[in-house]
Symmetry: C2
Subunit: 537 residues, 2 copies
């Protein structure tokens, strides 16, 4: 057990050095901020978080959102920019903590899975495209040949590693877990190789940009704040906090499936809130649990949060040890690691399933991805929520309602469109196949009107029976809808009856005026309603 | 029939003159803009709208939102302000038309009824409070005595009319409809009386503010635009367009209930879009269907849109005739009519019902009202949508799931917490009482885990049967949830079965991989699952 945590800690630390520095670049910060954000946050998450093997630190999408939030407020890399990055982590952390204490874990349910997939795909493309100038050493269509060679070479090596390294390592006798870890460490190896090339051929003198001097020593614990920027940071901080939670929850969920752990969304909020406060205190920027890093942590044998503690200590050691070598990491190679990392987020399985299973969800996925590409990552979050809710409300506005008929000689009542059933003159049986709430109350009333009109074409309808066997809840808006329907039908001389009302729904209705003013009866079963009404029809 | 339309047209025109001018004041515009906005918009709505008796024109809440949108962009009453008001109507009109053509009528379902009630209450308080300085002739705690006397006198008269006039008129032999119309015309009478007082005692010279010169003649049809303001107007225009639609829909809905008309939300969008384009073209500001005016129109006998045409023509005539008298309307009396009008929107019946029936909805109502009061009317719209969706998602995260037992000797299966039922060792029957979608997939999986753990405490569970009789739909997110559950259970040696899957749900599932990889069976009924599994358990 302990051995597993130690090896996982070492592997994750080795992965975090290039990754943290690279994501700090994406966020528009000096590379060392990425290492700072990988020390205190995982320690605090280990204390307060819910998942045993989650690895918390910088993450590509959150780094992109940080850059999008700070871009309009300060020049990337400036002192103010660094202050604002920490302040953003502070605000996000406070929001996450508050949501956790208020037990608002249900907020994770505002994004549907297809929308999350679309958001991830859109962000991955934006991040990859943003790294192309760094990879080429100049803004396209120009390029700087030594940088481009280094960057493109790293990119090809990393793509090759992704495609073949696992198979190669297994052919050399490694187990599947070890081979997987080998693949995950390829970026580290490629970056070290590129650094050696830079040192050997003095490529920095030839114009290849490197990370530059990294200040030695641990980050100081302090919090410089810009009082003029609270308001401007608030909305981005809330959006970033929301995405931190969503991203971390999907990583935790994937791990929980593998480890048969339970997810505690409120504890996850508190753990992430503490981690972001820690990041703010130690010169970092917003952090989250990362799917790819957590998967490595798990595969490398992590069993307890001790793995994260070890990895944080190793990173702290790296800063205390001489850091001269860190200054020579070539940016084109780091850009290549970012591009390959985010290519891994371009999964199309969700889109493929949604296209076959539910076109509306597929459309929401594509629209969210396009929203991120066209309008940016912040607007993308809002678009994602709007589309998730939009598909929900749109579907609710098309409730399924069946006209029931009796299967002759039985007490069974079925949709007359699917089964041949008897009907009684003057009696209309409607089964509503949806919980009644504000999103469908108009549509349900409109459908009832239509069915009444169609039914009354043959013979005047005296009794309308709403069969509520599939109605799991009735909210206040729908209660008003039923009360109005009752009044309307009374004026027309039609009796409104309810049948098969579920226990909890009936208990709730008893606190309202509907039952006492109901112009018909409440029947336990459809058969009882039929027996009483069909004779008189 | 024709007589009814003519009398309704006359009554509504008489109501519209003071009301239109008063709401123009609320919007921060010269009073004549309120009359302009009452001519072309109802004509265009009559051509394209869906309701026969809806009266479209200026409305208090929409006027308040107009002021909130334009306040930061221009000085109230300035030329730019008037240009921007028309531009706002143009943008809202385009948005409404576009939504109508795209058949986005379901957008009305984003607000629950309690939230709409809270929004209305909050807005009414903001509007009434905003009129107090006009009523008193100076900003509180100061006041201008002649203005205050005129304003407070009008207010008391109007309140008295609301309380007793209908009863008085009926005692004098009027029918209930006529008495109602008399009450609705009280503001007109009070304003005329106050105008006579102003003229008689030359109160304008004493410092009582009046509407001031009203330009004679019809509004010119043209559209001055400020090209620098499109971006700043876009978001307010969308929010205002949304509220225009919601307000008009609830008025149309109340009328439809009385007249047994059908509502066509997409045609309503198109009619409102056309009306707002007309308002933009003729120097007006955003308009909507008003509940109070439409109710008067209906009570006064309107049967067809001809009533609106007549009222528009009369208002046009009023502008062509000498308009000198319109200049003398005293602002304190107009403020009193606004205050009394919006007091009518302070209905607490929804709150009272929600408090008894559903605390969550009552909380959403109060929170929306407070949101409007504290953060303003624009933020209030967003808060309303967020709270409507929030209650929905929060409820979804607490799905009802029942463990089923067999009622001995029958084929009926019931919740073992409510009925004594037999269970079989090794077989767990769970009925999920909610449609499966992204909002509850985590919660449902967590509950299934809990029930499995509880059940396996006695004896290892070999078979899990999900009874889907109340599941009306399964979206893509929930499909992934089921696929993951299936994989997880297979690893643990538990078979996952489905029973009583509804026809449309099963048809949909057949397009996915779930059924082909399902590690158990799909049973037509719970009884069939029991017969096959309970023996082997």
């Amino acid at each position: 057990m302990l051995a597993g945590d130690i090896s996982a800690g070492v592997v994750v630390a080795m992965m975090m050095i290039p990754q943290g520095m690279a994501y700090a670049m994406v966020a528009g910060l000096p590379p060392v901020a990425g290492i700072y954000a990988s020390i205190l946050p995982p320690l605090l998450y280990a204390l307060f978080g819910s998942s045993m093997t989650q690895s918390v630190g910088p993450m590509a999408i959150v780094a992109l959102m940080t850059a999008a939030a700070l871009g309009p407020l300060a020049a990337a890399g400036s002192g103010l920019y660094m202050v604002l990055a920490a302040q953003l982590a502070l605000l996000s952390g406070i929001a996450l903590l508050a949501c956790g204490l208020l037990r608002f874990g249900f907020l994770a349910n505002f994004f549907s899975r297809p929308v999350m997939s679309g958001f991830t795909i859109g962000s991955a493309i934006v991040i990859a495209w943003g790294q192309v100038p760094t990879l080429a050493g100049a803004a396209l269509p120009r390029f700087h040949l030594p940088s481009l060679m280094l960057g493109a070479g790293s990119l090809l090596l990393l793509l090759a590693a992704r495609a073949w390294l696992a198979r190669l390592l297994r052919a050399l006798g490694m187990g599947p877990g070890g081979a997987d870890i080998g693949v995950r460490l390829a970026p580290m190896v490629v970056v070290i190789g590129a650094t050696v090339l830079v040192a050997w051929f003095d490529l920095a003198a030839a114009g290849v940009k490197t990370t530059g001097a990294v200040p030695a020593g641990l980050p100081g614990l302090n919090l410089a704040l810009s009082n003029g920027h609270w308001r401007a940071l608030l909305q981005p901080a809330l959006l970033i906090g929301f995405m931190i939670f969503l991203i971390s929850m999907s990583a935790a969920q994937a791990l929980a499936l593998k480890r048969q752990e339970k997810l505690h969304s409120n504890m996850e909020l508190i753990g992430l809130g503490a981690a972001n406060l820690g990041s703010a205190l130690s010169g970092g920027f917003p952090v989250t649990g990362s799917m790819s890093r957590s998967a490595v942590n798990f595969s490398a044998g992590a069993n307890t949060p001790l793995a994260s503690v070890i990895s944080a200590l190793l990173l702290a050691l790296a800063l205390v040890a001489p850091t001269g070598w860190l200054a020579l990491l070539p940016l084109p190679a780091l850009a290549a690691t970012i591009i390959v990392a985010v290519l891994g987020m371009l999964e199309l399985a969700t889109l493929r399933t949604a296209l076959r299973y539910d076109r509306g969800d597929a459309l929401a996925l594509v629209a969210t991805a396009c929203g991120v590409l066209v309008l940016g990552v912040e607007a993308g979050v809002v678009i994602g929520v709007v589309l998730s809710m939009g598909t929900l409300i749109w579907r609710a506005s098309r409730p399924h309602i069946a006209v029931l008929g009796r299967i002759a000689g039985t007490e069974h009542f079925r949709n007359i469109e699917r089964y041949p059933g008897e009907t009684a003159p003057g009696v209309l049986l409607l089964r509503i196949d949806a919980g009644l709430f504000f999103g469908n109350v108009e549509a349900v009333n409109a459908r009832i009107e239509e069915e009444l009109a169609a039914h009354s074409a043959h013979c005047f309808t005296r009794h309308l029976v709403l069969v509520l066997s599939a109605v799991n809840a009735i909210d206040t808006s729908a209660l008003f809808g039923l009360i109005e329907l009752n009044v309307l039908l009374r004026h027309r001389g039609v009796k409104l009856h309810l049948a098969e009302v579920k226990g909890p729904v009936l208990d709730r209705l008893k606190t309202s005026d509907l039952l006492s003013t109901l112009n018909g009866k409440v029947f336990l079963s459809t058969a009882m309603a039929w027996d009483e009404l069909a004779g008189k029809g």
